[in-house]
Amino acid sequence: MNRIAATFARLKSEDRAALITFVEAFDPDRATSAALLAGMAARGADIIEIGMPFTDPMADGPTIQQAGRRALSGGATVAGTLGLVREFRTTNDTVPLVLMGYLNPILSYGVARFTADAAGAGVDGLIVVDLPTEETDLMLADVRANGLDLIRLVAPTTSDARLPVVLNDSSGFVYYVSITGITGTRTASAADLARDIPRLRAATTLPIAVGFGVRTPEQAAIVARHADGAVVASALIDRMAAGLDDQGKASAALIATVLDDVAALAAAMRRERVTVLA
């Protein structure tokens, strides 16, 4: 059982949902990302997504766009991001890491080399935003050969007829984009989730995580009531971006503030009993 499956199995036995946090690699520099990764794991993140910066992140809102730009100025590369993963794994062998990014830097690095190096570094799953099911043959064999999960986005616009197509080669968990839009903008209501999540349950046995617009402990708790995980990204990045100093650096105190947010999210989700069984 890989780290993602093991984590969801453990959480199910604990009757709670996963807190999935997000770090944009090298935003604003490598040291900050390394501190956030280690700190998030220590403060209650069950799974961590690492954003791989790209110049043209089409599915992302202003928060992650700006994070990506800071990261690229901070020296982000694909190899550098994999280096962060290797460093994290020297002290933590349990928290799953999922790389989330766009296809072109992966193509440029080479799909076979990328999947091998990612698995070797200790990555567990990949979310390639602009690789829909129709184009997955470009990566699927290499992803499988290296034992990585390929995690798919499912949107409110994904019809019932299309769900099986999208979920066919998915593994790890399903990332439900709970709103029509870009990351970090709108928020799905409890009623939206009560309507949408059962539709997904009918199509998959994989755990379901909800993202795009989950910002507060209260919202994360609502998500925990309906789904198996909540992804919080833009709210954490906003917290950090607002506190960067004049040189664009993150102080230790600022990193601690972000990690306090992670702890608050984790606490809110632990209070919430999960009643929906996969």
Binding site: L107, L131, E135
Partner: protein, 404 residues
């Protein structure tokens, strides 16, 4: 629509939207259902003779087609070689070829029951053409335009506003065309139910490259018939400028199976080795951006580079996927022309033909000026004069050191 001919180069894309190794549908799942809906709506429209009839009606009575084929006699004498003809798409309503595609797409949008139009624009030509058709059909329209471009293209910004469009300055990235395209896609994904995205060039996810090509093929279809009428034969060379490549593919596609040498002219900016150009085929390598696999300007880590050209319409780090395919199979020759060469050709066209060309076709003309003298007077070059230069007079004045 013509029946496909076996071994024809005109049968692409395949059912996955591929032109050989290029094209495809590289978009997030949030957009995928929209892309598939658009594809099936377009396939249905293509099969409906009423759609073609409607398109033809607007082409004739609103756009002013067919555009003339003009024998550039003084230019021919001046260059002293091949006979040079211009396909005069600069005489279209709104002053460029962009309107052909906008009419086609807005008719499709109406057919699909969409009630809101969005588009990206660089120089503003596609934005103006989109605002024009949105006004014509009374649909609200939002144009995404890089903040840098908004500053340097004020007349077109005002035109769009006069036509009732909302112009949104895009500040992400380098605040130019590719960033405007990113933001238009973000808008689309957030407003999926009512919005139609009119992409301005033969790029983007399938079916856009094929659809834009089909609408722009009116250029090549007309030019082919007009050449035969004027000279009793097809030209030896057909040539067009390339940014995303919609005017070029529109000219080339109807002649892909003919014995016509086809030449696409990219923008070499300050020189192919200056690092400041827009020559995706000459200096880029294949990658994925804006929904399709194609040649891109990118760094060693796969990050997209900014393009540069004196012509804002050519200032794009990618190129339509069909051009990438035609490049790799060697059917079309792709060359590059610098800012300075284009400026010289711009002035040559004004002085010899009494036509102020846009800076985009001035690139094509610069290459014509290179090859025509060495050709035989019995040979023919057909060039797509795809836009007029009114929009460019401020840029040209600045480069020539003139005060307006």
């Amino acid at each position: 629509m013509n029946k496909p001919i076996p071994n024809s180069l005109r049968n692409l894309p395949d059912e996955r939207g591929r032109f050989g190794a290029f094209g495809g549908r590289f978009v997030a799942e949030t957009l995928m259902p929209l892309i598939l809906e658009l594809e099936s709506a377009y396939e249905e429209a293509k099969r409906d003779p009423a759609f073609q009839t409607e398109f033809d009606y607007y082409m004739k009575h609103y756009v002013g087609r067919p555009s003339p084929l003009w024998f550039a006699e003084r230019l021919t004498r001046k260059l002293g070689g091949a006979k040079i003809y211009f396909k005069r798409d600069e005489l279209n309503h709104t002053g460029a070829h962009k309107i052909n595609n906008c009419i086609g797409q807005i008719l499709l949008a109406r057919r699909m029951g969409k009630t809101r139009i969005i588009a990206e624009t660089g120089a503003g030509q596609h934005g103006v053409a989109t605002a024009t058709v949105a006004a014509l059909f009374g649909l609200p329209c939002v144009i995404y335009m890089g903040a840098v471009d908004v500053e340097r293209q004020q007349p077109n910004v005002f035109r769009m506003k006069l036509l009732g469009a909302e112009v949104v300055p895009v500040t992400s990235g380098a605040a130019t065309l590719k960033d405007a395209m990113n933001d238009a896609m973000r808008d689309w994904v957030a407003n999926v139910r009512d919005t139609f995205y009119i992409i301005g060039t033969a790029a983007g996810p399938h079916p856009y490259p094929a659809m834009v090509r089909d609408f722009q093929s009116v250029i090549g279809t007309e030019a082919r018939a007009q050449m035969i009428e004027a000279e009793g034969r097809l030209p030896d060379v057909a040539i067009a400028a390339i940014g995303g490549g919609s005017n070029a593919i529109g000219l080339f596609h109807p002649m892909l199976d003919d014995a016509v040498k086809l030449i696409g002219v990219e923008a070499a900016g300050r020189g192919l080795d200056s690092g400041e150009h827009a020559a995706s085929l000459s200096r880029g390598r294949p990658g994925v951006l804006h929904g399709n696999r194609t040649y891109l300007l990118q760094d060693a880590d796969g990050q997209i580079l900014e393009a540069h050209s004196i012509s804002a319409g050519l200032d794009y780090p990618g190129i339509g996927p069909e051009h990438s395919h035609l490049h790799d199979i060697g059917r079309v020759e792709y060359v590059a022309v610098t800012d300075d060469e284009a400026l010289e050709a711009f002035q040559l066209c004004c002085a010899t033909e009494g036509i102020i060309p846009a800076l985009e076709p001035a690139h094509a003309l610069a290459h014509v000026a290179k090859i025509a003298p060495a050709m035989d007077p019995s040979q023919i070059i057909l060039m797509n004069l795809c836009g007029r230069g009114d929009k460019d007079i401020f840029t040209v004045a600045k480069h020539l050191g003139a005060q307006l």
